[in-house]
Subunit: 129 residues, 2 copies
Amino acid sequence: MSREFRRAMPLLPISMVMKLTELSARQIRYYEEHKLIEPAKSEGNRRMFSLDDVDALLEIRDLLNQGINIAGVKKVFDMRKKSVVKSTNKVSISDAELRAILREEIQQAQIMEKVSLRNGDLPRHKDEI
Amino acid sequence: MSREFRRAMPLLPISMVMKLTELSARQIRYYEEHKLIEPAKSEGNRRMFSLDDVDALLEIRDLLNQGINIAGVKKVFDMRKKSVVKSTNKVSISDAELRAILREEIQQAQIMEKVSLRNGDLPRHKDEI
DNA sequence: AACATATGTTATTTTTCCTCACATAACATT
DNA sequence: AATGTTATGTGAGGAAAAATAACATATGTT
């Protein structure tokens, strides 16, 4: 399982995210409402957050603290998403790499089925976990 | 924050651990009762599991599936713990490393305070996260 | 002044998790 | 064969966490 995938896996309940980010539940839900994050939902409709979500929230917090508003944060995120796509598009990969990736995707699918959430979210940026 | 610490940080609710390990809540609590794992507890008395806990549970599952009983699993774990201690004892570290470790410990303490759980658990073995 | 933004607060309902107790299949022991 | 042990299932009852929704509000904007 790739590190990126692990970081994108929805695992944490909102209570943990609150502690890790020092944000209130209200804030976290508000940011979601404005599409800055898109946490997965459990069968029972509970939000489940990935480590990527936590990263995003920490960054949202910082940007807001810098006086940037929600719209600004969204812009920043959208720009990053685009640039990631652009930079990713260029790389060509070897056959072996491709096979490795496929193997991972398959495993991902299996785990995702087990974890069975209504929607995940895409990796945003990768630091250390 | 060190990888080991991150893996030892209690983050996941039992529902997620159930899905990741394919164990029932009953099984997970039973293994805890027998001291094979020691998940942290939230203020509200909910079990919170670390990635290390998940690793341990996966291994418990495998060992049990191999016909080994709980006592046997415990033995295996205890043996490993001892050998880890032994191998760790020998290494001597540089000043810089020591300072880096201390810095991390401090950050750990801060986060731990935020996460404020009644008890964590020690890293057991470290694979990839 | 009126409006918008970001967040707090509170009420209500639903979901998740806890403990405890009892049940039981598969093995082991007497 | 009867009894005990181990590992797990199941269900009741209760507590905690989280959801939605509505109203409140400080600060900044037009």
